[in-house]
């Protein structure tokens, strides 16, 4: 599916540009966007190094295990494939907590560590595992309690009450997160059925 979407974006874009005379724009952004991607990736170095360093301290101090213990009942059900005492749990939880509090740039390094551990659980195969899909589904549906970026934009545009969207955002986020978990379960069941046939 990724391959198809990827090729579609390129080919449809190029064909459209050929018909509508926007080839010059396409040409212009082609390598600029490649450079932008490298800049974004390299820009991650600073936050990755910092948060992975801090995470290592938290792990050695036993803070991650504490966190896991606290939320065990919930995450156990969400991630039945991950043994409850596995280090992956600690990283999954710290990613979720960071997301909840809007610490986006701390959440990414923790999420990457979680993915690493889940890959180990999956015997280092370069395939997606069930728990990875669940983890990413929850991540992409966004878990933020306070959408700080949006509030900042609203303030800039002179909103009378920039925070009045916090409630609606929270409900919409909750809906999409619950949906993510349910849809994930549905696809998991479908994969299992396929395997049985």
């Amino acid at each position: 599916m990724v391959n198809l979407i990827w090729v579609f974006m390129f080919v449809f874009g190029i064909v459209y540009a050929a018909i509508n005379g926007t080839m010059e724009e396409v040409n212009k952004v082609l390598f600029k966007s490649a450079q932008e991607a490298v800049t974004i990736s390299l820009g991650l170095i600073s936050i990755l190094v910092f948060w992975l360093g801090l995470m290592n301290i938290a792990k050695k101090a036993g803070l991650l295990d504490k966190l896991t213990g606290l939320f065990k009942p919930i995450v156990r059900r969400l991630f039945p494939d991950v043994p409850p005492d596995h280090p992956a749990m600690g990283y999954i939880l710290s990613n979720m907590v960071a997301n909840l509090f809007g610490l986006g740039n701390a959440a990414t390094p923790m999420g990457i560590k979680a993915m690493e551990q889940m890959k180990k659980l999956n015997e280092d195969r370069d395939e997606v595992s069930r728990s990875m899909i669940t983890f990413l589904a929850i991540n992409t549906s966004s878990l933020t309690i306070i959408p700080t970026t949006v509030i900042a934009i609203r303030m800039n545009y002179g909103s009378v009450s920039p925070t009045d969207i916090v409630g609606t955002t929270l409900i919409a986020t909750a809906c999409s997160t619950v949906a993510a978990v349910l849809i994930d379960r549905y696809f998991h069941r479908r994969r299992m059925q396929k395997r049985r046939h």
């Binding site: 459209y16 991650l44 990755l48 190094v49 909103s159």
Partner: protein, 177 residues
Amino acid sequence: MEAVSTISIWLMPCLIGFVLIYATFKKVATYEEFVEGGKEGFSIAVSIIPYLVGMLVAITVFRASGAMGFLISSIQPFLTAIGVPSEIVPLALIRPISGTGALAMTSDLIGTHGADSFIGRLASTMQGSTDTTLYILTVYFGAVGIKKMGDALKVGLLADLVGIISAIIVVTLVFGS
């Protein structure tokens, strides 16, 4: 409002302080463990590069050619017919694909319609309640070297759809049109 921005300013430094003090009491060699843990940051960032280059170039070509706009405007009538405000359609479709694109569009919608208008509130809610699915998948899978996304993309995009629909319903119920 004051409280919210104060909390978000204080949160990060307090978290760092807490971890360091706690670790010191637990007799962790803090500085050494920090350096040890931070080491892999560089290699992870580098391993993300090819994934992100591939994805971002494709998205940019798609957008800059005008193909994305064309696709959006051809879907728009159907979505408007089922009650989706037409101004919001482009944002709803771009949100899962391009983070910077969505952010620019949200600012634009808020600027044009006003932050406290129905559209402004809907755009804010939509921007805040879902994330850039494609970017998240690219970065996370890229960091651990997984090329096949499996069902992850489908699940993520379907959840985005639910998020967008619920944003429209909730904002309509709470703020009315």
